[in-house]
């Protein structure tokens, strides 16, 4: 039997609590380390000056007023989808079907614009589009919820599969409505009449979207932290048995919350189609349904923190796109940098939860 005589150099133990300051400094440190690692990788792989690369990233995100507006617009849409999935996540209902729910909302909006664009005036048409797109998203989110509440089906698989159904539905209608015939795409809807297009505020194309999502962020924060329904969501998420014990009807809460989650995804689809793109394609949601999972999670399901996390992710994405064009690098290079930065940020969660203690004294002979 061999007995090691010295204590291990360090050991890992769980933190019981962490101050706000510690947690902030851990995360700030992670970002700094990430930037340093990115700089190393950049120089090693491309020979470019990392400072210049960062400058370009910055420029890509904030370089011109137009770029800032695009950044804000992208952030607003990502944040909207993130806000939508958050109540479900707080309930531990893993809704990864935001992509499909958004698509369905967008499809409903596009359908209204195409079929009713020349029949209804905008003040009637736009509210109708709003309601129908929320309803479409709610139905798409509600189906897995009802099945989970009634038969205990697995919501992760179910919502994921619903994404594919939504994509195929959109693909089908794109062919039905394609302009011109045989083009395989719809193109800009109602370009001449602008029927169903969201109005521009103060001459800014994206301002309305940004404002709507800003208001939604505040409302969602209040809903989750102050409302009775928000409290029920938290209790159901923490423990279904406790919820039943205090008389909360768990099935009802699951369905109600997913209707809300789906409806907000539908709203994102509405903003996307009526507010910015004015068309519909199968890829219009652009993976936001999945990126939203990360936004919500990194923010600890707190809508106010999600402003920061969605900003960070959009910033990285916009910056990465700029690098690939400016330096003539492969587009994947931007993704590599984004990956490195996310790796550090997510990795820092470990240090927020655990601490590493180094040995104080080498094992003294007893």
């Amino acid at each position: 039997m061999t007995k090691p005589r010295t204590n291990p150099l360090f050991h890992i133990s769980k933190r019981k609590e962490i101050t706000l300051r510690e947690s902030a400094s851990i995360r700030a440190g992670a970002i700094l380390l990430a930037l340093a690692a990115c700089a190393l990788v950049t120089t090693a792989l491309t020979g470019e000056n990392p400072i210049a690369v960062y400058g370009t990233m910055w420029h890509g995100a904030f370089g011109t007023t137009r770029k800032i507006w695009i950044l804000l617009q992208n952030m607003a849409l990502l944040l909207c989808v993130s806000l939508a999935v958050t109540p479900a996540f707080k309930m531990r209902f893993w809704n990864i079907g935001a992509e499909g729910q958004t698509l369905m909302g967008g499809l409903a909006t596009a359908a209204c614009m195409i079929l009713l664009g020349d029949k209804l005036p905008n003040p009637v048409l736009i509210p109708l589009m709003f309601v129908l797109s929320c309803a479409a998203g709610a139905v798409w989110g509600g189906i897995p919820a009802v099945c989970k509440a009634k038969w205990g089906t697995n919501e992760t698989l179910f919502t994921l599969m619903m994404n594919y159904v939504a994509t195929q539905l959109v693909a089908y209608f794109v062919i039905v409505w394609e302009v011109p015939k045989g083009a395989g795409k719809i193109g800009i809807i109602n370009q001449s009449t602008e029927a169903g297009w969201l109005p521009q505020l103060a001459g800014q194309k994206y301002l309305l979207n940004v404002l709507i999502v800003a208001v939604l962020t505040g409302l969602m924060y209040i809903y989750l932290s102050r409302s009775k329904q928000g409290y029920e969501i938290a209790v159901v998420g923490e423990s279904e048995r406790t919820a039943r014990y205090v008389g909360i009807k768990v099935e009802k809460v699951i369905v109600r919350t997913m209707l809300l989650s789906g409806a907000l995804c539908g709203l994102a689809g509405f903003l996307l189609v009526a507010g910015t793109d004015h068309t519909i394609t199968t890829t219009i949601a652009g993976g936001r349904g999945f990126t939203a999972v990360m936004v919500s999670w990194l923010a600890g399901f707190n809508p106010l923190n999600m402003v920061l996390t969605s900003f960070l992710l959009v910033l990285l994405d916009r910056g990465a796109a700029e690098i690939s064009t400016d330096f003539g690098l492969n587009h994947a290079f931007g993704d590599i940098l984004t990956g490195i930065i996310l790796f550090f940020i997510i990795g820092s969660e470990f240090f927020a939860r655990y601490e590493i203690r180094f040995r104080k004294s080498a094992g003294k002979e007893g």
Binding site: M1, K3, P4, R5, T6, N7, P8, H11, S13, K14, R15, K16, E17, R226, S227, K228, Q229, Y231, E232, A234, V235, E238, S239, R241, T242, R244, Y245, V246, G247, K249, R357, K360, S361, G363, K364, E365, G366
Partner: protein
Amino acid sequence: MDNNIPAISVRNITKSFGSVLANDQINLDIYRGEILALLGENGSGKTTLMNMLSGIYFPDDGQILIDGEPAVIAAPKDAYRFGIGMIHQHFKLVEVMTAAENIVLGLKEPGRLNLEAVGRKIQDICREYGFEVDPNQKVYDMSVSQKQTVEIVKALYRGADILILDEPTAVLTPQEAEKLFAVLRNMRAAGKAVVIITHKLHEVEEISDRVAVLNHGRFVGDVATRRTNAQEMTNMMVGHAVSLNIQRPDPVDPKPRIQVQGLTVRGADGVVKLEDVTFTANSGEILGIAGISGCGQKELLEAIAGLQKVDKGSIRYVEDNGSFCELIGKDPMEISAMGVALSFVPEDRLGMGLVGNMDLTDNMMLRSFRRGRGAFTDRRAPRKLAEDVVRELDVNTPSLSTPVRRLSGGNVQKVLVGREIASAPTVLLTAYAVRGLDIHSSHTIYNLINKQKQSGVAVVYVGEDLDVLLELCDRILVLCGGRVSGILDGRTATKNQVGLMMTTLGGAEDHD
């Protein structure tokens, strides 16, 4: 082996979790051929200390010596290498595997796995110490006591000669506990070191040779069991003199409150959990429910609380004026909407009664959050209630915004009981209200229950410690396999009588 060198010496061991100092410079010796009882209130650091010996935690500072040699125990496999085996409160067995498979799980023995040989070795161990284990029985078919036996055999199979048991009797009937003690005595005779963590002083007196006491993470002292008594041990544990007697005030104007008639309940798998149960719980009285764990207590309370589907029978809530209403078929919301003030302290505190990740205020709100109009919650009243409970029940918490899972067991239970009695109930159901609580906290709970009884509440007290049931309750209903074995007067019943009724319907005398 020389009996004078301790099997384990703990020297100045310190361990903290965040700002909480769980173990502070602890020194303790564990000898072979001796049963050491480790005593201490909840949160005094007993389990933390033992977890460091079994490689689950690693000390911040200090040293562990094994047979006089410095040892580093960084992982459970190190602990096994040093012959230390720990039986945890929550068993760590794979339900779908057999006893033998569980016992060899994770062992890297050369050659092919020969389960027959394993079975023979298990039988040898069982013969040596007086266990009964069927190596081929699946764990899910086993009783709690059998699972515990498998855990102990698992430790011995891996060559453990220092055995640590964390509250082993908490889940056992008195008869099963006796069997366990017989086995532990055999181990002592075979020269093994045994450490047993327990709250039950009569067990300490019965089984141990030496008692070591911890208080708030510090080592208070150790003493030979025969030179001390329950009162002295309690004083050491608490740090000051306390009374060990449980009060039993006379019932206050008892009138029928809950009438249960022919209640039959089936579990999810169709197995009958309760069969034709009939009894009455009176106001101003404590009705104790005794029985081996898992023979219908949980289903009975949950049926009354509206959480359990019922097959047959009726549960009536009777008002003082004789009018009554039926509780079966109603959920907790509907029951309270009928004006029935029913409080329920469930067995699973953090999984059912409270939300572990929420703070005290939000947990207080669980019962009352629907109050008031409008869509928003009002946290003022719950915060006030949390303040009151913390002050009146002397809850030890850093603040009102601490998640309750961070509190120690006794404090968690005070929060739960405090909330449940705050709604001025007329019926109070409690399941294992003092399980895992130290003497001091237990007495706080007994006093609270007595106060409810004196104010006319019908109390149903499901308990496992027969001594406590006999001291606290006015009447005791004994369950046996989901049926009523009998209802006894708490003032005249004896422990033996109750014990027999728990295992045989009606408690027929043995003819031997």
